[in-house]
Symmetry: C2
Subunit: 193 residues, 2 copies
């Protein structure tokens, strides 16, 4: 009889994601993962192969279900100023509601990129490029409809907005207070005004 | 006869700093440190007490000798637009010249703040507050002398500039290419124009 899983793989990956996200790859032990996932060593290796492979799956799932979904919903609004403002409002809101101050799993991983492999670098840079492209498309959309000034450079401003977003995510892990995070949000809105 | 050190403490801390800076606190092993510092276990514990205590010394020394000194030199220029531009030029330049892509030791630590103790959080937040104050003072100086527009809000813009700086430091660890880092620099200059 072939080996069979006695647990929900998707749920187990989500639980592992919470640990990798909060602690980072290196600081996460196999014991942390097995504990969070509620599975034993045999099941862990049978299902996921290694800590590294599980990390790759966690990051891809986060990118697909959280990052991509978030920006797809914003694109669908078809209202660039509101969409860009909403991103920063949501991220400030998340910082306040997350007691673990986890920030963003992709940004946390980006900060440690020299210590990760090519696949991880690929996932992070592709995700980031898509966000910059989102900002650029929204700026161009706003310029076409006249709600964003035409003298704003979409290339530079999209990259600037993304750097502010990354800064906000880092500073929301304990270095900035609520008022300072709101100032980053105000600065982002200024950039497209 | 009391125990005597047979090595240069300052130099040993600097070597340890390079490891903590590149790999982060958790991923740095005692073997990594002893290897970089060229000392044995006995000397290590006698001189520094623990990995944690050495990390604290490393971060404080970096903050004092690199971060503080860098901003003191910029303040002394008494030319706010050039000083602010120079910061971003220097950081883009550093990203290009550092093959290890280490970024900034304080920013790397800030990203992992929930996993550090109160002393580390204190060092990071104090350092960051001083940089925000630097930006604010430079903006006000520029407004007094007329080189920075008076309608710019020094509180919001200083925090925005700092978030851009943090974003640049994170993205310079492999996620952004040279052109994109230059766009962050251009965005920062736009904020004070």
């Amino acid at each position: 009889m072939p080996w069979e899983k006695s647990f929900d793989t998707d749920q187990a990956i989500d639980r592992a994601t919470q640990v990798f996200w909060a602690k980072g790859y290196e600081a996460t032990s196999l014991a942390d993962l097995m504990n969070a996932m509620g599975i034993n060593k045999g099941s862990f290796y049978n299902a996921f192969g290694s800590k590294k492979k599980l990390f790759t799956e966690s990051l891809l799932k986060y990118d697909r279900e959280q990052r991509k979904q978030f920006f797809a919903d914003l694109s669908a609004m078809n209202d660039p100023v509101t969409a860009i403002t909403k991103i920063f409002d949501e991220l400030v809101g998340q910082s306040l509601s997350d007691k673990e101050l986890k920030g963003c799993f992709l940004v946390n991983t980006a900060l440690d990129l020299p210590n990760h492999d090519k696949d991880t670098k690929g996932t992070v840079t592709k995700g980031f490029k898509e966000v910059v492209s989102f900002f650029k498309a929204q700026i161009e959309l706003g310029q076409t409809s006249g709600v964003i000034p035409s003298e704003i450079n979409p290339d530079i401003t999209s990259k600037g907005l993304f750097a502010l977003l990354v800064g906000l995510r880092v500073l929301s892990r304990g270095a900035y207070d609520y008022e300072s995070l709101k100032a980053i949000r105000a600065q982002a809105v200024d950039l497209i005004s």
